[in-house]
Symmetry: C2
Subunit: 480 residues, 2 copies
Amino acid sequence: MGVSDLYFPDEPKGPSMKTKCPGPETEAKLAELSTVFDTKNAIFVADFYNSLGNYICDADGNILLDAYCQISSIALGYNNPELLKTTKTKEMSVALANRPALACFPSTDYYKILKEGLLSVAPEGLDKVYTAHTGSDANEMAFKAALLYQATKKRGGKPFTKEEKASVMKNEFPGASDMAILSFTKGFHGRLFGSLSTTHSKPIHKLDMPAFKWPVAPFPVLKYPLEDHVEENKEEEANCLKELDHILATYPHQIAAAIIEPVQSEGGDNHASPTFFKGVRELTKKHGVLMIVDEVQCGGGGSGKIWLHQHYGITPDIMTFSKKMQNAGFFFHDPAIAGDTPSRQFNTWFGDPSKALIARTIVHEIKKNHLLDEVTKTGDYLYSKLDAIRKKHLKLMLNLRGQHRGFFVGFDLPTVELRDKFIYTCRQKGLNLGGCGDKAVRLRPALVFQPNTLIFLPKLWMNPSRLLNRLQTGRIYKIN
Amino acid sequence: MGVSDLYFPDEPKGPSMKTKCPGPETEAKLAELSTVFDTKNAIFVADFYNSLGNYICDADGNILLDAYCQISSIALGYNNPELLKTTKTKEMSVALANRPALACFPSTDYYKILKEGLLSVAPEGLDKVYTAHTGSDANEMAFKAALLYQATKKRGGKPFTKEEKASVMKNEFPGASDMAILSFTKGFHGRLFGSLSTTHSKPIHKLDMPAFKWPVAPFPVLKYPLEDHVEENKEEEANCLKELDHILATYPHQIAAAIIEPVQSEGGDNHASPTFFKGVRELTKKHGVLMIVDEVQCGGGGSGKIWLHQHYGITPDIMTFSKKMQNAGFFFHDPAIAGDTPSRQFNTWFGDPSKALIARTIVHEIKKNHLLDEVTKTGDYLYSKLDAIRKKHLKLMLNLRGQHRGFFVGFDLPTVELRDKFIYTCRQKGLNLGGCGDKAVRLRPALVFQPNTLIFLPKLWMNPSRLLNRLQTGRIYKIN
């Protein structure tokens, strides 16, 4: 009996499609919703009341196996009974009805909630937390922390000058900082103005937005299968590190921090080796730059470790999280990152106790039911199945990646059109997948995804030459 | 019987102080919490389980009348029974256990929740909503909407150029925009990197942060009492409008939008007349600039109208909200503000159905129990009481403002030190107040604040010369 049966004895045995997806009821509901809300990005309308475990129900009653999970945000499956229990506690009611301004009026139980929950899975050495509201927000708070840390250090105890105080009110140097946050090509760190300045996934995410001219270092572009490109990939990573070293040494302004995803998700499921990440850690230390690891999408257990960067044996200065934790924020250790002056790192809500309660339950269940082991096992199974398919269809399934990274498995199709059609076709068959990058398919199921839920996946590939042919001739929508 | 008795038959009859505040239990809890969380801004640790209505309980069992309410965020009083009911519904459980990525997979009931809740109090003419996560986030999404709107208009249907797509990945013009968001002196719009660039409340909020060099127009500095400075204030506002006109006409880059608070809250409870706001509306129209009204702190009924700008008879292009609505986002009308391309205004969560459910109940209660009328009545009573005190103590209580603006009543003390001591002293007496600006005291109670809860306030002033004397000699902490 798998962990999915444990939570969801009534989980559907497989997908069940009544209409195309999006179907007529989704279309009707979107037409209604679009009169008041932006639905341009909608895939389908979800019926969360009737979703269960790994299966999401749509407005038309279609039941899909969900390997995308609200863009990697569902940790324990839909309507997990333990989470539902948490939503019905007195603690939750009080947290929801009395949302505190946590920086000014922290609640009597916030320490306990954090300690039993999020902090119990804090990466080793990062034992303090700032709670925030979204992944982007967590990243921007981390940028601010790094900037305050470096500026305070540079100032060496001297008070702010008159000139600083006057110039900052006009957004001018020296009060407004000329320090920078370094990021990597193809990285994605959010869409607020600071985080968007570090995002380089796609032009459409950034066009027409003002941005800070901060430095960008190259993220390795590896070739697959890894075993066939050992030397090339080693060289690629060495070159990227060399370029990073050069930028850190020569950039005309101080770089406060470098931010990096342990696997670039939105940018295309781009992996790099532990050696590369260790190199980044060493170079940031060498140049006195803080290292921020963005675990917004990678964190929370989907890689088989609670934080993906733990596969690399590094300790960053700051690690941000969100999505699967259903809470956002960052972990750190050095007390100087919290600064020495009130009113600098500050906002009204400073997190949300109701989200901290949800996170506590998620963490508790991950530990109690050994979900990380489950993810590792299922991820390896999934990878091996996909690799077997890949070997048969070398021109169709490209760059399979993410071995031994749990569910962080992705692959490319030959073109963006084929990728989009592939995902659409899978959805018609009852499998909800996500795309990323230019032509990648990414898997982002919940931690309760089980090998048996994958059985039907290869069926899509059963007649791959027919599939490929249809993909190429644009008749994919009619495939059965 | 007042509305507060209706919700809270067991509400305390007055404050009750057992220890100083912060007391020993708060200190112990902060010492514990500070090992893992930033407590530098903490005022006291709150016991939300034992808070009720207008009264907040602290960790030491002190019960304070709360006229600050989590920095203006509590709408219906602590542990409001109707809100508690909402927290226990199936809708809430499902919303919390299955947080959707609303842009991609909106829930079957989101239209109904928005329509019955937030949209039922949308300002006239602004009939669509983007939901967001915090006030700062709502403002930045509004900036992005304005920038996309103006850029799309300027481009006139032409596709993005190769140069734009290449330059934007390096955060360079022309792909990265050189358009600006105009803001006003002393304004506060949040602390993310874009919103902080429009914030000009205090240097400490901004120092050491990179900022966009966007234009700043003067917000009027009015003299009080208004009736004694009619001509001067008229001239001040006319001069500010003239300067705004000049900036809008001559700024070297296109200004996409101007953002303004209907009462500048964090910056010092700075009011301006309806004439001024009408002037801003006319000038923004004249120059083709969108007007964003930031109701993050002002909105939600505290002014006696659901949105404070409705006192001025204007309709902005975009209006942002958060705090009292326990949800964040912005209202708008022009469909072009939502853009015509997916993936531009986008983020994973795109709001939170659990917060939309809370907002729906708040809106429902405001209407059902005529809370806006209650606020108007209580606000007028409060203002008249404070004005009577002011007239007796002209050197102590300065610039009383906010007549006929419900609870948006504020006043200055002669210095920041006296203001801080005044607030501290009130807290020892069982009244929780907030400061803002340089030396202002602001009132931000919940909508269920009642005249009888204010009776004890004047007692603080009963011997004002003694109070003033003590304030000045620094012996304020011992006052009885």
